[in-house]
Amino acid sequence: MKFTLPIILVVVTAVLIGLALLGPEQTRNVVGIAAGSAVYTRKATTPEQALKNLLSDVQRRNWDRAIAEVSKGSITDKQAFIQDWTGSNGSLRSFSALEGFESRPLHITNDEAQMRVRLHWTTPVGPIEDVRDFHLVREGDVWKTVLPKVEIPNVPARVIPVTFLRWDLVTGGASDEWGAKNVDAPHVRIISMNAVDSAEGAVVMGEVVNEDTVPAFVNVNATLVDGAGSAIDDETSFDKIDHVLLPKQVSPYRIDFPNFNLKNVKNVRMDVKASLVPASADPVIGVMNQKIESDSQGKSVLHGDLFNQSGQTVNISHVIVSFYDNNAKVVWVADGYEDHALLPQSSAPFAVEIPKSIAPKVQSFHVVVDQYSLNKS
């Protein structure tokens, strides 16, 4: 009797190990979707296998073999191909890894195929999904991927004069007389707040402004309160805010309460915390050609271009958008990270998805760009 439980545990463990060894392909039964795995077939007799070979080699950073799987008709070179997948200039992509992928055929004939791939990246700012379409052709009895020309931003040598402007912070010593050298925290204010239920849970969002004349490091916290006046949960805006606000700058914020429903909430307590922070007024990033359109998957997406107007490289840009209804009320806040670096005086496209339930309400929007530069403290 006393051996029954250990025996059951051993059997269950063996079954689980066996299932795991069967791999993800055997456990996923979605028709038409091929998932990324380490299985490599030398001769790709199907478009799915050809694409899987290519992406598996990209995953392993086996560049020579990956290039060998590319059609001769491709107009990209090896260096550009590698840079496209590994990033450069300290971009988010250069700190990311391709964790997996799922491909779906869009159109297949005897000689050509169009495949759509959902790429899953692991990044320092969390998992990021990317959708790419690939064109494949049959060369003899082998399928190969045709890669489009990869545009590597090339910045001409030039001198860009910048009136440098930054704020430094000098803190007093411990021996200072009481009250002699106190500097107040920046004055920031929540200018709008809206709480809604979403598919993932309750969401509190709005906008905050730095009303002061010095930069502020800002964090917005929200506490959900039930009918009895007790706090149910409290969360912070985390990265759904531009934390460093220059004087008079407005930032959206969003606070997620996963698995909470507003029907149990009587009140939301808001708390904005601001502290002094060293900051720089540069670089300035313009947000050009902003437009809401439907993408190839039928989703509403805000598209635009980020234009780095300064003379320094922006390694990682973070786009945060507040969407307003026709009463200028914030109905959603969305964000996205740009995985390529923004070189001086150059542009890069961005896209932020709008949830299907929100899209019909959106009348206008406000985009802010937070940026991270490796040469900045």
Binding site: T213, P247, G286, V367
Partner: protein, 261 residues
């Protein structure tokens, strides 16, 4: 038993009877025990009476007898002065406040009323002067901020003691925000006129001005900082464009720029 003693001064307590006794002194931060002769005066050193407050004196031989006395703060030797805020927009009523606390040389709060003089000055120009008597050891004032940006000197004085603080008066929200612009080969360049508040103070450099350019096929925005009094942005727009401007919650004028010829 003395009714009241000044902090740091010596004190004496007279006793009656004869023989040996034990004297105990208990007070704020003080606890002493010594042997005394009844019938003689008990001398308490000034260093045992540095802290203001209630003291208990206890003499025990066959029986114990006690009494209390109060130690008051000595004359003011230090003025602690707190001023709030450290930065204030101009033209705000009741925006600047200050509070002063006189302390003696032993850091006791002086509770006896003293008259403290508060003076505010912007540069050499005096703005405000008021004499305020302390109540329970505290004197305070509250006043409006001035009209001009710059350093506001705040002084509190009591006899020969004084404490100086400074408040940075800063420009208020931008007022009459106006932009001009022109088309250039790669888009348009827009810039503000020098950005002032309604009192004519130049807003500090670094203040963010948001330019929004709307044309038929989309919108472009740039959050540009004011530099040397002016904010400037370059916007990619080729069609007829309407450019608007805002800083914080303040809107400016709209500018219409024709399509690229």
């Amino acid at each position: 038993m003395p009714a009241s003693v000044t902090a740091g001064d010596e004190a004496t307590i007279s006793t009656s009877g004869s023989g040996k006794a034990t004297f105990y002194l208990l007070g704020p931060g003080v606890s002493r025990r010594s042997d005394v002769n009844l019938g003689e005066e008990i001398r308490i050193q000034g260093q045992d009476l540095r802290n203001a407050g209630d003291y208990l004196a206890l003499v025990c031989s066959d029986s114990c007898h006690s009494g209390t006395f109060y130690v008051v703060a000595a004359k003011p030797a230090k003025l602690t002065f707190l001023v709030h805020p450290s930065r204030v927009p101009v033209g705000l009523s009741d925006a600047v406040s200050g509070v002063a606390f006189p302390f003696d040389q032993f850091n006791n709060l002086v509770l006896t009323p003293k008259t403290i003089s508060f003076q505010l000055a912007a540069g050499d120009k005096p703005l405000f002067s008021r004499a305020v008597a302390t109540q329970n050891g505290v004197a305070w004032f509250r006043t409006a901020s001035g009209k001009s940006a710059g350093l506001l000197q705040v002084n509190a004085s009591l006899d020969d003691l004084s404490a100086k603080r400074a408040v940075q008066q800063v420009a208020s929200d931008p007022c009459n925000l106006r932009i001009t612009g022109q088309r250039i080969p790669i888009g348009i360049v827009v810039q503000t006129e020098p950005v002032h508040d309604c009192a004519g103070n130049v807003v500090p450099d670094g203040t963010i001005v948001t330019f929004s350019a709307t044309e038929a096929n989309g919108k472009s925005t740039v959050d540009a900082p004011v530099k040397q009094g002016v904010a400037r942005a370059q916007i990619e727009a080729s069609g007829a464009t309407v450019v608007s401007v805002a800083s914080g919650v303040v809107m400016g004028n709209e500018l219409r720029i024709g399509a690229k010829p």
